[in-house]
């Protein structure tokens, strides 16, 4: 077959790009399996799981296990909210939604807003809220509660909200893409057969959009799992894994830091793998039905 002109140089550019994307990451994975003598750079000294063991013990003052659990918990909560809210909003946008354009504009604005601004705003909001709550407690004379009150900033309050401002725009855009290709004839058929709106959704629409909905869930989790900028000012006293990791880049000088890299990447890939399997399974189930 005759190649179009420019194929060879462009293929070369593409190959270089892929190498550029993957090369450094492979270096990290290899170096995380160094022996106990190993350092931050090549040559590789021995081969062991030593630095993973070190990681499990914790790095200095940082409890990696706890940070990992926090990130997992937050990621799952973000995933659940992203799926439910996006699907509901996707359904709403199919109907005549007064003010729908404004809402869409706000969602897109959140997507392109510099994250530090969103993060700062949410942090401020919750600090002002703290002030308000403390003032209210004092006025009501609830001294005990006041003494025990810390802050409203937290993993499942401010941080969850901060993550949702980042994951929901993606979820909504995916829903738009799904419903653009969706054939409403199936729903009409269900309605003609006497299905209630809820039955129509549960038995007709949901199974059809299920694979993409799983995809939204994956987006939600992985975006949250790696998120730093929006979390940074909005999380309060505890930290998620990426935030701990960002702090550790300046203090940790052993391959342990590469081991965290390997672990977090493996988690991302497991989530992606599960998603792909689920999508495949749901797709097959759908085929079996029709």
């Amino acid at each position: 077959m005759k190649r179009a002109p420019g194929f060879v140089p462009l293929a070369f550019v593409f190959a270089l790009f892929v190498l550029f994307m993957y090369g450094p990451m492979f270096v990290i994975f290899i170096l995380s399996f160094q022996g106990p003598e190993g350092g931050l750079t090549f040559p590789l000294r021995g081969l062991s799981l030593h630095w993973f063991a070190k990681l499990a013990e914790g790095l200095g003052v940082v409890d990696i296990g706890a940070a990992l659990r926090r990130s997992l918990g937050l990621g799952l909560a973000v995933m659940a909210c992203t799926v439910v809210f996006s699907v509901l909003a996707g359904l709403a946008f199919r109907k005549k939604l007064a003010g729908g354009n404004t809402l869409f504009f706000i969602v897109i604005a959140s997507l392109i807003m510099p994250s530090i601004i969103v993060s700062l705003g949410i942090g401020l909001e919750f600090r002002l809220l703290d002030g308000g709550i403390k003032w209210a407690l004092e006025t009501l004379g609830m001294q005990d509660t006041l003494d025990n009150y810390g802050t409203a900033l937290g993993l499942f309050t401010s941080a969850l909200g901060a993550h949702l401002t980042w994951t929901l725009p993606f979820g909504l855009l995916i829903m738009f893409a799904i419903f653009n290709r969706f054939n409403p004839a199936f729903e009409e058929a269900a309605r003609d057969l006497g299905a209630t709106p809820w039955q129509g959704f549960k038995h007709v629409v949901l199974p059809l959009i299920a694979p993409s909905v799983v995809g939204i869930g994956m987006f939600g989790f992985t975006l949250s799992w790696d998120e730093i900028a929006r979390t940074s000012q909005a999380i309060g006293d505890v930290n998620t894994l990426p935030l701990e990791l960002q702090g550790l880049t300046t203090t940790v000088t052993t391959p342990s830091i590469y081991a965290i890299g390997t672990v977090t990447t493996v988690v991302s890939f497991i989530v992606m793998g599960i998603t792909l399997l689920l999508v495949k399974f749901l797709g097959r189930k759908q085929k079996g039905r029709s």
Binding site: V27, L40, K95, I116, T264
Partner: protein, 303 residues
Amino acid sequence: MSTPTAPLPSPTPAPGRSLSAWWQATPLTAVFAVFFLVPLALILMVSFWDFNEYELLPGFTFKNYIAIFDGCGNTSEMCVTLKTYLSTFKFCFMVWLITLVVGFAVSYFLAFHIQSQGTQTLLFVLCTIPFWTSNVIRMISWVPLLGRNGLVNQGLMGAGLVDQPVEWLLFSDFSVTLAFVHLYTMFMIVPIFNSMMRIDRSLLEAANDSGASGWQTLWNVIVPLSRTGIIIGSIFVITIVMGDFVTVGVMGGQQIASIGKIIQVQTSYLQFPLAAANAVILLAIVLMIIWALTRLVDIRKEL
């Protein structure tokens, strides 16, 4: 029964219908109201507040804005704020240019040179996978390559090209730009590729038949038709780089100033009104850039 492609039967839907639509949109709306609109309004409000070491003092003062531009009237030496913005703009422009060129080339290759759809999807997915790994991990993965004793320096010394390790590879403007390109080229590729896939292939044949050279087709057909993708990608890259503090921090060795970094440092000292004022200025500048970008293209379209 109406045909499936027919528009909705009633042009003015029953009020109950619109109500149920809003009921469904409520959770999403609530999230963006509570975690996006209110916070932005509060930033604007607090940027006019005063503060001391312990607390925020509600009021209305331009003190914070004046403090930011303190000394900027001095012509002999640039003030810190202007310097920081210049440095941020510099990164922004470099990263935008590089990601645009690389992203366009990669998208072009995938969209127009790969004939089989299976291969196309496979190669596209190959490009997107690194995007799913933690940004910090992708940043520090340059350390073993660019560090003082890194692979690049080992290679250069081994080849006898340099006597001493090259120092500017890591924790420098170079490493920051490199990391940005590594992290965010994807934000260019996806929209540009998307635009290119929508281009009617017969237009290319028509250009070819009319005797256009490869470059002419590229410049007069493909680039204008990829416009939307280019603008969307540019907006993403520019807003990310303008507000970034993580990449600049980690890859710059905490030495390089950026406007995002200033905001972060000020909040860590609880100087919220100052940080808020900085955020308002940053937001205004980002909005102006986005506005200019969209204008720029519309003007060209009309010519």
